[in-house]
């Protein structure tokens, strides 16, 4: 399993906010990709409804998932591929270790894959003495620096060209430069040697096709193609939901995926892989393994409130518009899945209570829903998670909020049920507020839970007379109700 640090959300968020370099990088990224994606949707020849057609395609796949996985596995096995159904992270990792061991693997090249981060595959293989090289440029940078990715599609977004220049000078022994083309070329050269020497390639899978029995990988760099083509063994790891029923479903989904991920019309490379190289093929791996991972997904599938989340194709469009992600960055989420998708998926995978800050530390602004290529209603699911955190939930083993918080809402509920009591409270607050207010009528420093607000912002003091009172006075005693 990946390291889980969701409990440190607030601290890590503060760290991200205090980092001016990160701040600039994030807003840059969001302006470029967030706006580009919106523009791409607006210009769709089929109109923006295409997103809802894509959503229906994803839902169809999820609703028939058992049939799809069976067909996918049968077809791949018929071509001589191996399919391993992994119930959890441990089973998946152990399987990969065994294959590597049996094949005498010493060097592995990896294509970027969130699901392998989720199961903690790299550390396990490295502990077996195998060299594991991440080959996506961003992932490679992050790995060389001993750091974690902070964005699903742009893993090294938190690093400047200066930092990367120093890193490459140090680790690759090249003269210091901060020129992106020169740095890219240095990585290209170093990684080309890795690709040629590797005896195993490990990739994820963007979206398999059940009908024909293929996995697919998408990339712009070509590294995933290298990892899936050159080494003698290829292992692809996929979350069990990442499959489409029909080949034609890809026509819509890949376009929207490219738009969501990088505001492109189409990813640079799409590869369909249906098994190992055929007997007279000139390239391709001798062995092909597909690992299909559950690891908590069937639990999400079983809950109608969250099943929609399995439509996600991990394009990161939601990260590119989220105003909270835009301030705090990906590390704050404490798990490979960050941003709005992480705020829903992570609690469901690692435990709702321990990841409570992820689903509560969002404003429900809804930008993610509009950016999602398959129109996933993330705010709806954040609200559902909050409901579980408030009152507890047996199915997800969620402990309810503490008695103090529950008491606050109970009292609030009584108060708003009785206008007279409510008025008394308003007046008391008004009197207190005027006592504390400055000359401008603003409150500058408040104690207790409101101190977080007043640390950076003023707060108006309650009015001497509520509007309801004023209305009654304007309209004569008793006020005007329906006439």
């Amino acid at each position: 399993m990946a390291e889980i640090a969701c409990e440190r959300y607030k601290d890590m968020a503060a760290t991200g906010i205090a980092d001016p370099v990160l701040q600039r990088a994030l807003i840059n990224l969001q302006h470029r990709f967030g706006r580009g994606t919106a523009e791409a949707y607006r210009n769709l020849p089929e109109g923006p409804e295409l997103r809802f057609q894509a959503k229906a395609i994803r839902q169809h796949a999820i609703d028939h998932l058992d049939l799809l996985l069976e067909r996918l596995a049968d077809k791949i096995e018929a071509r001589g591929g191996h399919v391993f159904f992994a119930e959890d992270a441990e089973a998946a990792v152990t399987y990969c270790q065994k294959v590597a061991d049996r094949r005498g693997v010493k060097r592995i090249v990896k294509g970027k894959s969130m699901v392998t981060e989720e199961i903690g595959l790299n550390p396990a293989l490295m502990a077996d003495g195998i060299e594991v090289t991440e080959t996506d440029l961003g992932e490679y940078i992050v790995q060389l620096a001993g750091d974690h990715p902070s964005h699903i599609i742009a893993p090294a977004i938190h690093k400047t060209r200066k930092e990367i220049g120093r890193l490459f000078a140090d680790k690759l022994g090249i003269p210091y430069t901060e020129d992106p083309p020169t740095l890219t070329r240095a990585a290209r050269k170093a990684l080309r040697e890795k690709f040629m020497a590797a005896d195993m390639g490990i990739t994820g899978c963007n979206l398999a096709c059940a009908q024909t029995g293929h996995i697919t990988t998408l990339s712009n760099e070509g590294n995933i193609r290298m990892a899936a083509t050159l080494p003698k063994t290829h292992i692809a790891v996929m979350g069990m939901e990442r499959v489409a029923a029909r080949l034609s479903d890809h026509a819509i989904l890949f376009r929207l995926l490219a738009m969501g991920a990088a505001a492109q019309q189409m990813a640079g490379y799409v590869s369909y892989i249906g098994g190992p190289a055929g007997p007279d093929s000139l390239d391709g791996p001798e062995e092909f393994h597909l690992v299909i991972l559950d690891n908590g997904r069937s639990r999400i599938l079983a809950d109608p409130e969250f099943r929609e989340m399995l439509q996600c194709i991990r394009c990161a469009a939601c990260l590119n518009v989220c105003p909270v992600y835009g301030e705090i960055g990906g590390h704050a989420y404490g798990y490979p899945y960050s941003g709005p998708v992480g705020a829903v998926v992570t609690p469901l995978l690692v435990g709702v209570n321990r990841a409570k800050d992820l689903c509560q530390g969002e404003t429900l602004c809804g930008a993610c829903r509009d950016a999602c290529p398959v129109a996933i209603d993330i705010p709806r699911m954040l609200l559902a998670l909050r409901a579980k955190l408030a009152v507890g939930d047996d199915r997800w083993n969620v402990a309810p909020a503490g008695p103090a918080e529950r008491a606050v809402y109970r009292i609030w509920s009584r108060l708003i049920g009785n206008r007279r009591a409510y008025d008394l409270c308003l007046r008391a607050a008004g009197a207190g507020g005027r006592l504390l207010a400055g000359k401008d009528g603003m409150l500058g420093r408040l104690p207790g839970p409101l101190s977080g607000w007043t640390r950076s912002r003023n707060l108006p003091s309650p009015a001497a007379k509520s509007f309801m009172q004023r209305w009654k006075e304007m309209e004569g005693e008793g006020g005007s109700n329906h006439d």
């Binding site: 990088a25 609703d63 998932l65 049939l67 996985l69 071509r79 089973a91 996506d136 440029l137 961003g138 940078i141 742009a154 090294a156 977004i157 890219t184 070329r185 290209r188 050269k189 080309r192 059940a210 009908q211 024909t212 293929h214 712009n220 760099e221 070509g222 590294n223 193609r225 290298m226 083509t229 050159l230 029923a245 029909r246 080949l247 034609s248 026509a251 890949f254 376009r255 990088a262 019309q265 189409m266 640079g268 490379y269 590869s271 249906g274 098994g275 190289a277 055929g278 007997p279 007279d280 093929s281 000139l282 390239d283 391709g284 299909i292 559950d294 069937s298 639990r299 599938l301 079983a302």
Partner: protein
């Protein structure tokens, strides 16, 4: 025979779905074309495409190719295509040093160009990926890695996105469009289709009509290799080819 892991995995998935009925009709519904009428209409439109519409597709292709940094060359015939390839080979240097070498698919259109003779004049040997039983894949890999230019064709080219699509049967290995620094793809104008809906309709039709299915691998290529991982600056040639030349033969 059946893998118990697979059985229990799929059982869990089915139970999460509420154990729906899985009879023959449910299975065929899961894979059926959701909009058969639209698919049929699309196939008809492609078959009956008039010449002026074909010309418009090429305009669309060149508009899509430009921002992607695809070098699009339109030529009247095979001879001109060979000349275009020779120019690319003559005017570029091997990225990793050493002698100039090329690799090319064993493919009817590419073989017709007779590149081995044409490039021999420039002193550039061409490795042709001819399938053979018990082929030494290590040797093929070295030969492709030694080539600085890889010449392939494609089955289709999508005008809307300038995407090349090709299945990879034995004579058309995927590494030729990937490992060399320069990728040259040669197609005929008739292979250009409008958009992804058309591409997938053709793929489906081939599956249905020939029962051939996809080969083990199929690759779509849209532009040269690129990355924006360093401060979101676009750089070409991350791992795959730095350049992509698309040669379209008319007539």
């Amino acid at each position: 025979m059946t893998d118990p892991r697979r059985t229990s995995f799929l059982k869990r998935v089915r139970s999460a779905l509420g154990n729906p009925l899985r009879d023959e009709s449910a299975i065929s519904a899961a894979f059926a074309d959701p909009r058969p009428a639209a698919t049929a209409a699309l196939a008809k439109r492609m078959r009956e495409r008039p010449p002026e519409e074909r010309a418009a597709l090429l305009v669309r292709l060149s508009e899509a190719a430009e921002p992607l940094n695809i070098q699009l060359v339109q030529v009247p015939d095979e001879t001109a295509a060979v000349e275009a390839i020779a120019r690319i080979v003559a005017n570029s240097l091997p990225e990793w040093g050493g002698e100039k070498r090329a690799a090319a698919w064993d493919h009817p259109l590419i073989s017709a160009l007779n590149l081995q003779d044409a490039l021999a004049d420039l002193g550039v040997p061409v490795f042709v990926t001819r399938p053979a039983p018990d082929v030494d894949r290590g040797r093929v890999r070295r030969a492709v890695a030694d080539a600085f230019v890889g010449v392939t064709s494609a089955e289709w080219c999508v005008a809307a996105t300038a995407t090349l699509a090709a299945r990879n049967p034995p004579g058309a290995p995927r590494s030729v469009s990937l490992v060399p620094s320069i990728h040259v793809a040669v197609i005929r104008a008739e292979q250009v289709v409008a958009d992804f809906q058309e591409l997938y309709a053709l793929l489906n039709a081939e599956m249905d009509e020939e029962g051939r299915g996809l080969t083990d691998a199929m690759t779509f290529i849209t532009g040269p290799s690129k990355t924006a991982d360093i401060e979101a600056t676009l750089v070409h040639g991350a791992h795959g080819p730095r350049e992509l030349h698309l040669i379209v033969i008319h007539g």
